[in-house]
Amino acid sequence: MDQQHLSDIAQDIQRILHKRGKDYLTVRQISASLSRRVRQQLSLATRHSTADMLKKLTPWLGESLQVYHGPTSIYIGHKRSPAEFILQRVQQHPGISPTQLGLGLPLSKRNYITALNDLLGTGTVVCTFKDNHMPMLHLSSHAPVQGLAQASAEDDRLAFHTAYNTVGHGRSFVRIHRLRDALPWPRQRFDGVLRALLADYTVELHGGDPSVMTEEELRHSFTDADGTLYIALSWRGHL
């Protein structure tokens, strides 16, 4: 088997997810979207069971992808915490009912309820009721950046996005050093989250004009692997 090509499966899957605009897809959807050569190399065929397919794909998922066991299907998607999935969905659909929310997530019922209760407990998500007593979920408008950053390492992307909105005040070009200031993380953690956001095209980096910045601001910007300095970023994707 050509190990060289198989080692790129994780990237191929990320590309598929990006193209479809999804954070996760079912194992069968992923398998069907892989190139014929990869499917042949892994001996993936539609007649195989989902469990068989999963067994063949799992070793190649790498660190950025994860398998999720939902109520009806098994999914492969970006590595996210249950809280992150919930927050993203509530943000996209404010007022969504807890039942509707649970149906659309790649989480088991138990994991979903536990994560939702945690978020309600910390006040990150709030629940109100319609006239007909139907519950509605919303993101708290007071969810502080720092609080989110500390909540869990897996919530980093959300914290990053919240910081982007808070620091940027609605701007589309936000200085990276200001994001670092808002997210008091070790450099490695910040850069790691930023690289992950870059890899799935959630953010775009910009060069800008270094001559108008202080040494410290430049130091707290971002330099990529080949030494290119980036000063600002724009949020392009969803969470």
Binding site: D8, Q11, R15, R171, S172, F173, R175, L198, A199, Y201, E204, L205, H206, G207, G208, D209, S211, D226, G227, T228, L229, I231, A232, S234, R236
Partner: protein, 596 residues
């Protein structure tokens, strides 16, 4: 790898240039999907403006360095050329003199309208408009296939056009319509073009066109007249459903609040006063958000932000399309569909790491191509060498199309200031533009003296003159004489562009006497010939490009980095200021030969 095919790329590397300096000179094929949202949005605005010329709107393009702002403008121009209902197009670089805001706008708009659209220098946007006017004024439309008109038909057409346009647009300038019609008469065309660009005509040309003498008009009146001409032009564009897209680019070079305010005035005028004109303004995103939007009148910034388009980085597929499009322009490789000499999977992996700007894509492709062509990396190009190349290229572009770079006192002043400050004089110029005729004020050490503070230092003023009328020229010389009378130890250098003639006696007799008097007082005179003037303009435009971060060299790890302004000033000191080129040689001589 196929060595013969590789030779094609050795002879013509399509990735050496990653910057679109000028939308009129687009070189490489477009990738339509890149920033398609911005293009579609802008084109819709143009279509709306075509249907409703009085619609108050403007466009704002935001994108960081290398994101394709200028390229996008070029795309609008290309689209306009290919469509059945073309719009008019003007590309405007930063203005230098806020006192001449509307005259600058008028001149730049007209220079663009006079720019050839095709191989023939006759095929201009303005000619297209004039033809429509004549067609409407001609009793026999079929007979007017070309603009060849006899004196008798001309008079009849003029009368009819005047009547039609005055009836439709009572506010249209009669002088404008009259001069526009005289553009069709070959022997009056040059004078008509000069008047339309806002120049002060000499007496003979003013009489030829039967227009009032502009020498007697105040600055405010000249500005008002420029607005009047632009408004009248707007009426014509409205009548013929040809909106004019006025693109403002390289705006990072607006250094002072006055310059930014002047831009605001132009945008406001184009949006609210002139019909059928659509201003499109390009800024770097971060600078717009952090600086310019707060310095512009809120009325202007809100108008701009209503139609804001942010440019985005390329997806991997778009990046590959850029590479493919550039590869097929290589002579001998036109039919190739593959990405030869690249490995497409390897390229895709490179571009898959993030959303890269088009410039970054081209730079990465260039780096990889160089690796493929030669195992040894090419010796790095120094910033000085890069600036020499960019300067030479800009100079050649100006020489190729000198008409487009009209005599521009502000831009000549910019070049002179750069030389005075960073070249061999190493002087600190005082604030310029404070007095009507004086462009640069500074102090110099006299030749042969030791630069000790307080000793051997004399005040020097530079007067740059591009006025065609003798009265304005005489007034400028009189200012120089007055300075020398007040400051007998001072020095004055009078500079005049070659395209603004200074006819010898008996023409301009009084002005020639004044010139002799000026020389008698010790004033120095420098007449810039075409090549020298082109070098001055090239230096000014190069300074815009450096501020725009359009010029890059290989930095650490062979990654591109923009040339810094300090490197640019070193280039002025080491290259421009020396005797290698004739750029400032005569200024240097004028300063060196001054008698104490």
């Amino acid at each position: 790898m196929d060595d013969a095919r590789l030779d094609l790329f050795r002879r013509h590397n399509p990735f050496t240039s990653s910057s679109v300096g000028d939308p009129w000179e687009a070189t490489y094929p477009d990738v339509p999907s890149i920033n398609e949202h911005a293009f579609r949005g802008l084109w819709q605005l143009i279509e709306q403006k075509t249907r409703s010329p009085a619609l108050n709107c403007a466009g704002l393009i935001l994108g960081e360095v290398g994101s394709g702002k200028t390229h996008l403008l070029g795309r609008i121009l290309t689209q306009s050329k290919q469509t059945h209902s073309p719009c008019a197009f003007a590309y405007i670089q930063p203005l230098e003199d806020p006192e001449q805001t509307y005259r600058y706008l008028l001149r730049e708009v007209m220079v663009n309208l006079f720019h050839p659209m095709a191989a023939s220098p006759q095929a201009t946007q303005f000619r297209r408009l004039v033809t429509k006017v004549f067609l409407e004024g001609s009793p026999d439309r079929q007979a007017l296939a070309r603009l060849v008109i006899t004196p008798s038909t001309f008079a009849a057409i003029q009368q009819r056009v005047m009547r039609l346009l005055r009836a439709a647009y009572p506010a249209i300038s009669g002088h404008f319509v009259r001069v526009l019609l005289q553009y069709a008469v070959l022997e009056r065309r040059t004078a008509a073009m000069q008047w339309l660009t806002g120049s002060v005509l000499d007496d003979a040309d003013a009489a030829l066109l039967q227009v009032p003498d502009r020498t007697r008009l105040s600055t405010a009146s000249l500005e008002a007249e420029a607005r009047d001409i632009l408004t009248s032009l707007g009426f014509l564009l409205t009548r013929y459903h040809q909106p004019l897209v006025v693109c403002f680019d390289r705006l990072e070079n607006l250094e002072t609040d006055e310059h930014i305010h002047a831009l605001g005035k132009m945008v406001e005028f184009l949006v609210d006063k002139a019909q059928a004109m659509l201003p499109v303004v390009c800024f770097r995103g971060m600078q717009w958000e952090e600086k310019f939007r707060h310095k512009l009148n809120q009325h202007v910034s809100s108008r701009l932000e209503t139609n804001k388009f942010e440019l985005r980085g390329c997806t991997p597929e778009q990046a590959l399309a850029i590479v493919r499009n550039r590869l097929v322009v290589v002579p001998g490789n036109e039919q190739a569909e593959t990405l030869f000499p690249f490995d497409s999977e390897e390229l895709l992996k490179t571009f898959h790491l993030g959303l890269y700007s088009p410039r970054r894509v081209i730079t990465l492709a260039n780096q990889r191509l160089r690796q493929l062509l030669d195992e040894d990396p090419l010796p790095p190009v120094s910033p000085l060498q890069k600036l020499q190349e960019a300067f030479a290229s800009q100079y050649q572009a100006i020489m190729r199309d000198f008409e487009r770079y009209q005599p521009d006192r502000g831009r000549l002043r910019r070049a002179l200031e750069l030389y005075v400050r960073y070249g061999s004089p190493k002087c600190v110029p005082a604030e310029s533009g404070q007095e009507r005729y004086i462009d640069v004020t500074t102090t110099v050490h006299l030749a042969g003296t030791t630069p000790v503070p307080g000793t051997g230092v004399v005040p020097v003023i530079f007067l740059i003159d591009v006025e065609p009328h003798h009265a304005a020229v005489g007034a400028c010389l009189a200012r120089g004489i007055a300075f020398l009378e007040e400051e007998p130890s001072g020095r004055v250098v009078y500079i005049r562009e070659a395209r603004c003639p200074f006819p010898p006696p008996p023409t301009w007799e009084a002005t020639n006497k004044k010139l002799q008097l000026f020389k008698g007082y010790g004033g120095r005179v420098v007449f810039l010939d075409g090549e020298q003037a082109a070098r001055w303009y090239a230096l000014a435009l190069l300074s815009y490009a450096v501020r725009e971060q359009d010029i890059t060299v290989a930095g650490p790890n062979n990654t591109p980095r923009p040339i810094t302004f300090e490197e640019f000033t070193a280039f002025i000191e080491q290259d421009i200021s020396t005797q290698k080129t004739r750029t400032f040689q005569e200024i240097e001589v004028a300063l060196a030969t001054m008698e104490p």
